[in-house]
């Protein structure tokens, strides 16, 4: 008899359904769980793109603003794109938003996960250039506290690391399954060392740079978040250099963490998660979502996802992954 269909005995059916809850939710491949989290962030990103602000001229102006300080070869296409968006605002923005929602749905839908991840890489690279001005990397505006090296490039990085294939060799963490241990570690190292570098640029280590950035996020935020911002801004007021050095040291420790033994690696990754969450809440203000007008949740949650992708796990091979999926 089926374990599900029951005649005339609802209580018995409910008991069995309850038992199934435990059985059903007990197993999920870690990479698939991270893919779903990425899908969720894409969905949120797409939904944010439908906000009223994105249908105003301010959106085009915001895009055009990312050209500032970039070399002309980078800036000119951004200006062209911003003009195009301003002229066909409703159509283009709806298209942008819908593409992002579809990317999220595609990653969550198993048969289309590869196509959606591949498309998300292409889309992310396009947005990184045309929508974020390469995250301010070339203009000197990049800071780990404002989403450097550009939140959207982290989507692309995650798509590569969470690509649903296995190299056959045992992987000590999820991110190594698709690209291998050495490449995955190198990507992590480059990312966090670059964040350390950006933290120490002259603009970011100026005495009032960090506190100014934080207090600039207060506007439009709910009272509790504005209060946190005010407190944090006053805490680091005039301490730009010290704050930048502390942040850079933390980034370097995190960068090296994936090369350390398991327990030390876990500690470094936990530090990465804490740093990412602090960045997300304080200087990024949840990507300004609560203030309206956010185009994405910014880099905080993506850095957390990345750290989870590097979290040491029981060695994963293609065979064990297949068994789990089955």
């Amino acid at each position: 008899m089926s374990d599900i269909a029951v005649v005339g005995d609802r209580a018995a059916w409910r008991d069995r359904a309850g038992a199934g809850i435990q059985a059903g939710s007990a197993t999920m491949d870690a990479r698939r769980a991270l893919q779903l989290a990425l899908a969720g962030i894409w969905l949120l990103d797409g939904v944010l793109q439908y906000q009223s602000f994105m249908y105003s001229k301010a959106f085009g102006q915001m895009l055009a603003g990312t050209a500032d300080g970039n070399p002309s070869v980078i800036a000119r296409p951004i200006t062209w794109d911003a003009t195009l968006v301003e002229h066909h605002l409703a159509l283009v923005n709806t298209l942008f938003a819908t593409i992002q929602v579809l990317l999220g749905l595609g990653i969550a839908f198993r048969p289309t996960v590869r196509a959606a991840l591949a498309a998300s890489v292409a889309w992310s690279l396009g947005v990184w250039w045309f929508g974020e001005g390469l995250g301010g990397v070339l203009s000197g505006a990049a800071s780990p506290l404002n989403g450097a090296p550009g939140a959207v490039i982290l989507y692309a990085l995650l798509a590569v690391l969470l690509w649903p294939s296995d190299r056959g060799t045992p992987a000590p963490f999820t991110a190594a399954r698709a690209v291998g241990v050495h490449v995955a570690r190198a990507l992590w190292l480059v990312l966090w060392l670059s964040l350390a570098w950006f933290a120490l640029t002259p603009d970011n280590r100026a005495p009032q740079a960090v506190s100014g950035m934080i207090s600039g996020m207060e506007s439009g935020q709910p009272g509790w978040l504005a209060a946190i911002d005010r407190g944090a801004a006053s805490l680091v007021a005039g301490q730009g250099l010290a704050t930048s050095i502390a942040l850079a040291v933390a980034c370097i420790v995190i960068a090296a963490g994936v090369y350390l033994p398991r327990s030390a690696a876990r500690a470094a990754l936990a530090l990465a998660i804490v740093v990412a969450l602090v960045i997300w809440v304080v200087p990024e203000g949840f990507g300004m979502i609560l203030a309206g007008g956010a185009t994405d949740p910014n880099s905080g949650p993506l850095l957390v996802l990345l750290a989870l992708a590097y979290w040491p796990v029981k060695t994963v091979t293609a065979a064990t992954a297949e068994r789990k999926a089955a």
């Binding site: 008991d15 779903l36 009223s52 969550a108």
Partner: protein
């Protein structure tokens, strides 16, 4: 301003969800047996109508206070179901159980109606659409809106994964005959709980499982009604509704 045509399209989508839910309820009623998810279908029907009215003023039906009462009741109902699941199955039921997503949906709707401040010069909760674009109200306690939106997109991604995996089926029969160990959401949303006395009397050959499966589903090609009553449709409706609800919450922050 968000284009009015976009809101109209979403309102139409919500009406489709409401119509599908109504059709499921009618079919279940006609069979005098139906999915054990009648409460979910009722909730989807009401949410579809309420959301369509919120997106497009012309589709507004009941005043905001009535919707607050309705969604207060559905929230209380699903909270009770979740509490009962949690007692039976532990805290896992809160995250992966069959009723938890519906509790979040109902809670989000209740919050939306309670927290919406009428737009300047607007007509209150009786719909927010306009002819040229959306004249939005804004939500009080935007942190809560953000939290609900996050959970809703999370559940939508999870549901879509499960829908494309082996947890749900578009054919009621195949799910009803699923082997032991199939997960609970599939169980809860696919189970056909036949009411006592509704099985064909005097049919000794009919196994309990056979009785539980709609007649059409036992044919080799599932009929439209079997597809409509399948768990996949319920979950599909939930995904569409969850994303649209997240959209509404975000644009009203």
């Amino acid at each position: 301003m968000i284009p009015a045509w976009l809101l109209d399209m979403l309102a139409a989508l919500m009406l489709v969800v409401a119509a599908v839910s109504a059709a499921r309820l009618v079919m279940a009623w006609r069979r005098r047996s139906g999915p054990a998810t009648a409460d979910v279908d009722v909730a989807h029907l009401l949410m579809g109508i309420a959301m369509a009215g919120t997106l497009t003023a012309a589709l507004a039906t009941l005043p905001g206070t009535a919707w607050e009462v309705i969604f207060g009741l559905t929230t209380a109902w699903f909270a009770w179901r979740v509490w009962r699941d949690a007692r039976a199955s532990g805290v896992r039921a809160l995250a992966g159980g069959h009723c938890a997503p519906h509790l979040v949906h109902s809670g989000a709707m209740l919050y939306m109606f309670l927290a919406l401040a009428a737009p300047a010069g607007g007509s209150g909760m009786g719909g927010m659409g306009g002819t040229a674009g959306m004249s939005m109200g804004t939500l009080e306690y935007p942190t809560l809106a953000f939290a609900f939106a996050l959970i809703l997109v999370g559940y939508s991604a999870w549901d879509l994964d499960q829908l494309s995996g082996r947890r749900y089926s578009l054919a009621t029969a195949s799910v009803s005959l699923a082997p032991v160990g199939v997960s609970a959401m599939a169980a809860a949303e696919s189970a056909v709980a036949t009411f006592p006395g509704s099985s064909p009397a005097g049919d000794p050959e009919a196994s309990p499982a056979d009785e539980a499966v709609p007649r059409e589903a036992s044919k080799s090609r599932p009929a439209l009604s079997a597809v409509l009553l399948s768990p996949g449709i319920t979950v599909g409706c939930r995904i569409v509704m969850g994303i649209t609800m997240a959209f509404m919450l975000v644009i009203m922050i």
